[in-house]
């Protein structure tokens, strides 16, 4: 790690430790959910950004993680054991899902994962063992080594530590040979297969790991939110991290984290000023998609490219005569693009 990176991380750590005193306990719950969203979105980016797997059912693993913690919290399992259980359960359910969807790719895969998550949602709504429609209320973390987690500040540190561990894991995965192979699989699955990569197996492992991350995030959410309900499995819960990825930029490790913080803050704000935040989120998504398709983290690159191009053309204001006189029309949009269907496994990048 570079010296600048290390300094940045140290500053971040200090900020996170001082955060409860900076903002006060009242706002802490919102920030708890925001850092949990950071972990969830980062786990989803292993699929979209690294492996090129378009999953629309990550709420399934988030939700089962949350339910796992809620169930064992009632039996006073110690916090680390419960969270590891959430992680394992998320991973196992994700692995089973990847077996079911083994042969599907692209849109079929996206729709199948969506359907599986919805099936789990329906199941959770029906099972009285899981509290049915109302879910499981009163989830609380039992004391551990004398730390009382009903205190908001302790809960915040619990979240920060586990989210940091999760991010570290995903950082290592992305930098590992496995992560690089995933990149190859995303960029050209056919060529990767020719090179001897077992594409489907790699995708299954990536899917399982992302499921572990989602399960852990869900488990943390159960402690912070204190109630787990079928809503945590609902498909809009799968869409939220994807919006975060889009917002932050899927090509960057920190993209989903930045997107998660931005979206959480925005939702928090919109909920106070309007009854219908969906409209604004939708408009924001469209603007980002069309103007900044690589997310807010790509702004420096976009600006640099823009200046570079202007420089090459010999400064601003120089246009061709034809364009000034309206003679040289840009070709209309009739140029047919190559079929998206012909590029298997592409995810989210042109």
């Amino acid at each position: 790690m570079t010296r600048r990176g290390a300094a940045g991380l140290a500053a971040l750590a200090v900020l996170l430790i001082a955060w409860p005193t900076l903002i006060g306990n009242g706002q802490l719950f919102f920030w708890d959910t925001a850092v949990i969203a950071v972990l969830f979105a980062t786990s989803v980016n292993l699929l979209f950004g690294s492996a090129g797997i378009p999953s629309f059912g990550q709420a399934a693993f988030y939700g089962v993680g949350a339910y796992a913690v809620a169930k064992v919290a009632a039996h006073s399992w110690p916090v680390p054991a419960a969270l590891v259980l959430a992680l394992v359960v998320g991973g196992v359910v994700a692995f089973v899902t990847s077996l079911i969807t083994w042969r599907a790719t692209g849109l079929t895969f996206a729709m199948l994962t969506l359907a599986i998550a919805q099936a789990l949602y329906t199941l959770a709504e029906k099972l009285s063992w899981l509290g049915g429609y109302n879910g499981i209320p009163g989830v609380s973390a039992p004391n551990l080594w004398g730390i009382n987690f009903s205190d908001a500040t302790s809960l915040w540190y619990l979240n920060v530590v586990w989210v940091a561990l999760g991010l570290l894991a995903f950082w290592r995965i992305r930098r590992s040979p496995f992560g690089h192979t995933l990149n190859a699989v995303r960029q050209d699955p056919v060529r990767a297969a020719f090179l001897g990569v077992n594409v489907r197996a790699y995708r299954a492992v990536a899917f399982t790991l992302a499921g572990c991350g989602a399960g852990l995030a869900g488990g943390l959410f159960a402690y912070s939110n204190q109630i787990v309900s079928p809503d945590n499995l609902y498909w809009t819960e799968s869409a939220t991290p994807i919006i975060m990825l889009l917002l932050g930029g899927i090509n960057y490790f920190w993209g989903p984290a930045v997107g998660a913080l931005l979206l959480s803050a925005l939702l928090n704000y919109l909920n106070q000023v309007t009854t219908s935040y969906l409209l604004y989120i939708g408009i924001l998504m469209l603007v980002v998609l069309l103007v900044l398709p690589e997310g807010v983290l790509s702004i420096p690159t976009v600006v640099r490219d823009f200046r570079h191009r202007r420089h090459r053309r010999g400064g601003p204001g120089r246009r061709s005569l034809g364009s000034v006189m309206g003679l040289a029309h840009a070709p209309p949009d009739t140029t047919p693009a190559p079929l998206p269907g012909g590029e298997p496994g592409m995810a989210g990048r042109p």
């Binding site: 996206a110 029906k126 935040y277 409209l279 989120i281 469209l286 998609l289 693009a337």
Partner: protein, 291 residues
């Protein structure tokens, strides 16, 4: 008998939504999440035109068609403004764009009509039930089934028998080649989208009297329609008809015989079909193949 009647009606409503979805998917290769939003807009527009009052049947049909046409007009505007920018993007990105449009439509409906449910009564003359073979069947079901049959037949005639249909097929097969051969791809896209959204609006306007309208119906219906499209095979209209009817019948059967399983009928059908035929009932193995 009652199972058959409710199953058929539910299936036809799903088919109306799914047919437009599969048409747009097959021709334009865009997974249109906002389809459910247009379904919802169609329902609300019909409600708005009738002001929630009971109407005679002929006026009801006319206003339903007007609401569908208005929905199609909104769809056409969004196609010109938004969708044409999405065609070039990868499938998953364009899917996010249509999801954003769904959120916008739902948010707009929340602002205009509020979150409280509104209801549209059935047209006068179709209010009561009639009995066949000892079962009470709502008369309104006849209208829905008739609309579904007309749509299925109409789409087949349109695709197999008209110039537009041939162009549609050509663009669905290979839009680049079709463009080279002189088909105005842009125009075909616009026409396809308008037809698809018209069907979404029609489904919504007809479904209006059968449900209490909240902006959330945009989301609940789209999932069923998607499942039907997957089960039937991407882009296959007959496939989605079969799948929609099968789903409607299975659901009605389970509601009667095993109510606790009814909510899973969608997933059961999906699992059963996709394990045997991953490409769907009548799908071809083109989209998203192999790796």
């Amino acid at each position: 008998m009652i199972i058959l009647a409710t199953g058929l009606t539910d299936g036809m409503l799903i088919f109306l939504v799914a047919s437009g979805l599969t048409l747009v998917l097959g021709v334009m290769r865009v997974v249109n999440f906002s389809h459910g939003g247009f379904f919802m807009i169609g329902a609300y527009l019909a409600y708005e035109l009738m002001r929630g009052h009971v109407q005679p049947v002929w006026l009801f049909v006319l206003l339903v068609l007007a609401a569908s046409a208005a929905t199609a007009a909104i769809g056409l505007v969004s196609e010109r403004i938004l969708f044409r920018r999405l065609y070039r993007l990868p499938e998953v990105t364009s899917l996010l764009g249509t999801y954003a449009l769904l959120l916008i439509l739902e948010g707009a409906a929340q602002l205009i009509w509020g979150r409280n449910p509104v209801t549209q009564p059935e047209p006068s003359g179709l209010v009561h039930a009639f009995s066949i073979a000892g079962a009470q069947v709502p008369r309104y079901d006849i209208l829905v089934v008739a609309a579904g049959v007309l749509t299925a037949v109409g789409l087949q005639v349109l695709i197999k028998g008209t110039e537009l249909g041939r162009q549609l097929t050509a663009v669905a097969e290979d839009r680049y080649m079709a463009g080279l051969l002189g088909v105005n791809v842009n125009w075909v896209f616009a026409a396809t989208f308008a037809i698809g959204i018209f069907l979404a609006g029609l489904g919504g306007a007809l479904a209006g009297p059968t449900l209490s309208m909240v902006p959330d119906i945009a989301v609940t219906f789209i999932l069923q329609a998607f499942a039907v499209v997957i089960i039937g095979g991407f882009g296959s209209i007959i496939g989605s008809l079969i799948a929609a009817l099968a789903l409607g019948l299975l659901h009605a059967f389970l509601v009667n015989k095993a109510p606790s399983l009814a909510d899973f009928s969608l997933y059961m059908l999906m699992a059963a079909v996709l394990v045997v035929r991953p490409q769907g009932l009548l799908g071809s193995r083109q989209l998203g193949e192999n790796l």
